[in-house]
């Protein structure tokens, strides 16, 4: 995997890969017809795809710093877009997003708007300028722009807090999927997930991660779109669901009115297994206040623009121009999945609650539902539950409970698709979680090896030694993440959202003002990073321990408070201290011009 020859052949290489993967799906489908067991299919899907990623990781091995940290800065726009999309869409996006929409409706959709709108900020405020800078890591930019080890170190601290919060959730997700697909206990599955993740990144660093992420994107997008289209066609809802589900959305509204959202008593809810929820929110009606919606969207947008594992993907493009375009492609590839999640939620909900459909269970008797195969399976997996609270013998809307993950995992089975699709979905979820975990672990390990070890501790270290340190850190951080994931503290989505808030609290304004405000100086940036992170963390702890909060800022949007503190601290401290020296101001001027050498390339 060396030289420009490989780059030129990329469309062919990934074309063959995609064809091969589709071929594999067909072989599995045939094997299923011939009597291959569901369990064997699940194992085959996960094992086959993980093997391919490991192979790519091995082929991408490198001993050069440039290739290890920024994939040699030669990743073409469209492929970087795919890699970013995989980097971005986590196990949570893949497995939990449709479920979130299903249960929470409009209030949850703020996440879709936030997680896409943030890319406009990335493209216009940051990515092209950081690419021009020519840095290896995000703290590299902070450290050079503001100068001094303390600024650099503060950026590493914020990066580590945010990314580590995120990565435990991803390792948790790989563990969950591996444990279901391979049928092994979660505590072991977590480490199998971790080893798969490390196989992709350890030898090739950013280069290995880039090419595996492209491969993982292809798997995850096929695994998401194929069932959505198939289910939609099978239900007769329309051959292109995105444009044709208006009647289904309206029908859900009708049924919700007809059944009514009856609240369950506390005693009744105590009988429902943990983590399962009932349908209590309208599907398409606006059920959140404008501020609740906007504050969540805003927090996710600013968080997107501050998360280092996304930003560092744009360091790998060949030019500033390519970095900008690449952001557009990233969002396009993300859009393909995000715009499908609400459609899947709609199809899933309608197929379960519409009494006119054969799959509908509302209005059936308990004996009937308990006899259904898929109900038994998912009840056993602790993802579905019914209970006759009012004792009338038929299932009501408020007597049916489901886990968020079930929307993606169980809908294909409910709609009567062959098991091969469930195996495919497991491989897709695994790809989504692995690609994000890889990006995150690499972001942390690179920041510590490059910014702390090389730039602060031992600036004379040779490349070979630096790369050994980088790899050791990668393994250590991975194991730390897996160990915490094995303890199962937070749900997948909770910790993902916190990561955005941590990142925006500490990094958003120091990054943006570094480019857009020449007067910003070292003292201001340090105050902004540490003050913002401290304020955000304080707010989170305060709300979690029973604090009432203010301005409607919740534990999911604490970054709004953190970043506001960060902005004020940065401006006040900057203005109170000396303006940056001439050399720094000249550097900022140069960052704003796309042509010419990178800033760091000149030193």
């Amino acid at each position: 995997m060396k030289g420009s020859n490989f780059i030129d052949n990329l469309p062919k290489v990934y074309g063959i890969y995609t064809g091969g993967f589709i071929g594999f799906i067909i072989i599995m489908a045939i094997a299923e017809q011939m009597g291959m067991s569901a369990k064997a299919i699940g194992i085959a899907f996960v094992a086959f795809t993980v093997f391919i990623y490991a192979l790519i990781g091995w082929l991408s091995r490198t001993a050069q710093a440039d290739a290890y940290y920024v994939a040699g800065r030669q990743v073409p726009t469209v492929f970087n877009g795919m890699a970013t999309a995989a980097d971005w869409m986590s196990g949570a996006s893949f497995v939990a997003m449709a479920g979130g929409i299903y249960f929470k409706g409009y209030g949850y959709m703020a996440l879709l708007v936030g997680w896409t709108g943030g890319y406009v900020l990335v493209a216009s405020l940051l990515a092209p300028y950081l690419r021009k800078f020519g840095c290896y890591t995000v703290p590299d930019f902070i450290g050079t722009r503001y100068g001094g080890n303390l600024a650099r170190f503060s950026a590493v601290v914020v990066l580590t807090v945010a990314s580590f919060t995120y990565v435990t959730a991803q390792i948790n997700a790989t563990g969950t999927i591996a444990s279901v697909a391979l049928d092994i206990p979660f505590q072991y599955a977590v480490y199998i997930g971790l080893i798969s993740i490390l196989l992709c990144s350890m030898l090739g660093g950013m280069r290995g991660v880039t090419w595996t992420q492209v491969a993982q994107y292809i798997v995850l997008i096929i695994a998401y779109l194929l069932p959505v289209f198939w289910i939609s066609n099978k239900m007769g809802a329309g051959f292109f669901p995105h444009f044709m589900l208006a009647d289904e959305v309206a029908r859900i509204g009708e049924l919700e009115q007809q059944f009514g959202f009856v609240a369950n008593s506390k005693e009744n809810l105590a009988m429902v297994p943990k983590g399962l929820a009932g349908i209590t929110k309208a599907h398409s009606a606006v059920n959140a206040t404008p501020w609740a919606f906007i504050s969540l969207a805003l927090a996710m947008m600013m968080g997107t623009a501050s998360l280092p594992h996304v930003m560092m993907r744009y360091f790998t493009t060949p030019s500033v121009k390519a970095a900008r375009k690449s952001v557009g492609w990233s969002l396009f590839f993300i859009f393909l999945l995000y715009s499908s999640a609400p459609m899947l939620a709609t199809l899933s909900k309608l197929s379960l609650i519409d009494p006119n459909l054969s799959t509908g269970i509302i209005g059936k008797t308990f004996a009937e539902v308990e006899a259904i195969d898929w109900y038994q399976n998912w009840n056993q997996a602790n993802l579905m539950f019914i209970s006759d609270f009012n004792g009338n013998g038929t299932v009501e809307l408020n007597e049916f409970f489901m886990g968020g993950k079930a929307v993606v995992l169980a809908t294909p089975e409910i709609a009567g698709l062959p098991y091969v699709i469930s195996g495919l979905v497991a491989a897709g979820g695994m790809a989504a979680a692995m690609s994000t975990a890889d990006g995150l672990i690499l972001a942390i390990a690179n920041a510590i090896s490059h910014d702390v070890y090389y730039k602060i501790i031992d600036p004379k270290a040779e490349t070979a030694k630096r790369l050994v340190v980088a790899r050791v850190l990668l393994v250590v951080i991975g194991f730390a993440g897996a160990t915490i994931a094995a303890m199962e503290i937070q749900g997948i989505l909770g910790s993902v959202i916190w990561a955005f808030d941590f990142a925006m609290s500490g990094l958003f304004f120091p990054l943006v003002l570094g480019v857009w405000w020449k007067r910003a100086n070292r003292q201001g940036a340090i105050a902004g990073m540490l003050g913002g992170l401290a304020a955000g963390t304080w707010y989170l702890v305060w709300v979690r321990t029973g604090g009432s909060g203010f301005l409607g800022i919740t534990q999911l949007t604490f970054g709004i408070f953190g970043s506001a503190v960060s902005l004020v601290a940065m401006i006040v401290v900057s203005l109170m201290t000396q303006e940056p020296d001439k050399a720094t101001q000249k550097m900022v001027d140069e960052v704003r011009v796309p042509s010419g050498k990178t800033i760091l390339g000149k030193q």
Partner: protein, 86 residues
């Protein structure tokens, strides 16, 4: 004003336009979420619902490509575009 200052001034106005459009689709329209949802929009979905599923998301994709092209034109105009390119 030097060439570079002019370039930056133009880039900055492009940023403000981009952020204004971004603001409309990410924040502005959701101030009126409840009212807008009463009206039937594209493909028969209620307007607000459609925006959260597809509308805003798609608008962001188009906005970024539009921004990238405009910025490239500005760079070319002032002779700041990169030479060796793919």
């Amino acid at each position: 004003m030097s060439n570079q200052e002019k370039h930056w001034e133009k880039s900055r106005s492009l940023l403000f336009i981009t952020l204004a459009i971004w603001f409309i689709f990410s924040i502005g329209i959701f101030l009126f979420g409840a009212e807008m949802n009463e009206v039937t929009g594209p493909f028969g979905y209620p307007w607000t619902y459609w925006f959260t599923c597809q509308g805003s998301l798609g608008a962001f994709v188009i906005l970024i490509f539009w921004f990238a092209n405009r910025q490239e034109k500005i760079d070319e105009e002032f002779g700041f575009s990169e030479r060796e390119d793919e």
